[in-house]
Symmetry: C2
Subunit: 429 residues, 2 copies
């Protein structure tokens, strides 16, 4: 069967953007009122504010606070259209993207499909551990943690309860740190209120990190402070420790240690997720697409890759840029300008990433932040963290609702959204 | 296998409440500090504020605004415990309730399991129509309506789009009226913004009602006003019309009329949903359990049935009481007192329902309300409706978030939560 290719009916060249994450959305926004036709394709009809996914997983925020409908985001942009579709394959010869709802022809293509959990080939872990890269996965974690408490109270003997009350987070980056802090807060505040049948001491939160410090991408001071905050909350942080296996009940660690647990949350690595049709020679470490210093995919003119799916390899960045939202956003803005310059036959400078700093929060009122050379910590860093995240969330409604939820959390110390709307059964994965 | 029955370890008699709806929750609350041990069992870990389910279905509110965790609700009630379980069977001889997580012995039992959609035996409709009795069903409707818009824009010819853009709501009670009004508002405000590819005129909202007026339980004036409000919003109301069949693409109506549609939402009737073990002779019309005027199930001492699953048959109420929240709540309070009186060997008066009135909202700024003999309508009735619902929602957080969402909806005219988190595919039912 020959698939009909759907071409733009606009007189302008068509830019197809694959993925509505931080990078893709930025490209589309910056192409507003430019002489192009923009088509954004995503498998979800919303943008996900990934830095706060862990708050959905731990019941502080509802899904709708960190998810913003893509059509709504661009309702005032007349050169924008959207298709809800699975992206299947890029055919660069034909300049066509094949999707679950048809094939679309492009003049310019931006691959911004992001990343997914990387289990580094460990099949057992992939089978039994929970990832946290999408709203749906975050909701699964929320349900699953609560389901484990419900299971625990059905067991009379403490030994039988252990595996339901041990929570293991693998990977000490910002996601792992923030998530283990938030689960420790559940232990400190919610457990007693909601599950008087259980004792706080029966629950354990473990954070496993392969390197010798958490938040490896931040300063030594931030790592040290974050570790202290985590330990103050009761999180058992195991540094220099690798996961070797997990059978759904017992996780095995390097050095022979094992932990009985039903819950392993994986935040130890990501890999690019890309459509078919990218030549294997272009794939770098972490399943990322190699680009030149202008974010262009080598050998594919007018095709760009940005954000977590891209590896911009240069003498200064032999391993690519870090997989964080600001890189994707800055690349998105750059690529939008690059496309306009190309259309107007102007030359382009190379992309330069401006690192404005990193931060992570560790439970209520505590955070660490490296802004330039300056390191902040504690309550002050936490207010910076809150402010920056609040203004970064798309949409007035989402900001207001998030503010209400954070205020209530601050005063009650308790996450309010303890709902199991869709129970999560691991065997279903 | 002989199942071990889990008995209360309290010295007080155990009251088991089946179902955490309006009735069950009220029984549990009113038993606070009473000499009983309360065990509430529900298949969900939250109470659902059903009157606002239609706002979840139409994207004005998120699920967490109308769902309140049951454990959190009772965190300060020391004689309360909760089990998340499917209720399977009542064995009155043994005074045991069998559930998916074990068998529990009771001294007093309150059956408050509510109602589910009644398709009156029409299998095709049950197969293809969407019910709206749970949060999950409401979220399915939200996803499905949006998915239909996404499907419609993929069709170039208007004839192919018709069935994706016709929405049929069956049943002109408060749920059907409120839902069809809210979907008509999507047509008026959101469609143009989010789907510029579609014309407003291509979409149709039908409300099918078997009787000669909508809101049959309200006054004639309310019915008339509601009908006018619906028609002002563009809803096509078909009175005196029955559904005869639906094959997933075409709905057939009495009189031979047919409508092409992928979306039929069923709010034309409910039936009680009860555990096994209730004698068939006790089942009244609508699959409800017959009770005496003290809410007791006939022949089963110390067993009560309240709310939508109960039919309190008396000379004054030969068909039972209406299936509305106030009946369940008043019966819940009554039964709690009845149990305490019984324990204290006091006598009980019969249950008397106090009808404080009914109301329904029809889109933004319009509502009808019958309070006693007085009929209100328009903006004033709408503010009453808003106020009463806002104060009735459980929890400060939910009230605040609902208030934010309603305020934004009022000013923007648009429902913000247009998210397809879990796509709904009808064949999966």
């Amino acid at each position: 069967m020959i698939e009909t290719v759907i071409k733009t009916q606009s007189k302008f060249p068509r830019v197809i953007i694959l993925g509505g994450g931080f990078g893709g959305v930025e490209v589309a926004r910056k192409l507003k009122n430019k002489p192009v036709d923009v088509l954004l394709i995503d498998r979800f009809n919303f943008h996900t504010f990934q830095p706060l996914l862990y708050q959905v997983a731990t019941g502080t925020l509802a899904d709708d606070s960190i998810a913003f409908p893509l059509r709504k985001m661009f309702k005032k942009q007349s050169n924008f259209s959207f298709r809800l579709a699975e992206i299947e394959k890029v055919n660069h010869q034909e300049q066509v993207v094949h999707t679950s709802v048809g094939a679309y022809g492009y003049d310019y293509l931006v691959i911004a499909t992001g990343a997914t959990s990387n289990f580094f080939g460990m099949e057992n872990i992939e089978k039994f551990a929970l990832g946290m890269k999408s709203v749906k996965e975050a909701l699964n974690i929320r349900s699953y943690v609560l389901q484990n408490f419900e299971e625990a109270i059905l067991r009379k003997h403490q030994g039988e309860r252990t595996k339901y009350l041990n929570f293991v987070i693998v990977g000490g980056g910002p996601t792992g740190v923030e998530l283990s802090g938030a689960i420790a807060e559940i232990q400190l505040h919610m457990l007693k209120e909601d599950y008087p049948e259980l004792r706080k001491e029966e629950m354990n939160v473990y954070l496993i990190e392969g390197m010798d410090r958490v938040l490896g991408a931040l300063s030594e001071s931030s790592s040290k402070d974050a570790l202290r905050y985590l330990e103050d909350l009761g999180v058992k942080v195991l540094l220099n420790t690798q996961v070797t296996d997990y059978d759904g009940d017992i996780i095995s660690l390097s050095g022979g240690k094992t932990i009985e647990t039903k819950t392993v949350i994986w935040s130890a690595g990501v890999k690019g997720q890309m459509p078919e049709g990218i030549d294997a020679s272009l794939i770098e470490r972490g399943n990322r697409i190699r680009t030149d210093e202008q974010c262009r995919v080598e050998g594919m003119s007018r095709v760009y890759a940005i954000g977590d799916v891209a590896a911009l390899i240069s003498p200064d960045t032999p391993r690519g840029l870090p997989g964080v939202a600001p890189v994707a956003q800055q690349q998105g803005k750059y690529v939008a300008e690059h496309i306009v310059n190309t259309i107007e036959n102007k030359t382009n400078e190379k992309f330069v990433y401006t690192d404005k700093g990193s931060m992570a929060t560790v439970g209520r009122s505590k955070a660490v932040a490296d802004l330039g050379k300056v390191h902040f910590k504690g309550f002050f860093a936490w207010t910076i963290w809150m402010f920056i995240h609040l203004v970064s969330i798309f949409g007035f409604r989402n900001r207001m609702v998030t503010f209400v939820n954070w205020s209530i959390k601050f005063f009650t110390k308790s996450s309010g959204i303890r709902l199991i709307i869709n129970p999560y059964f691991r065997e279903d994965k």
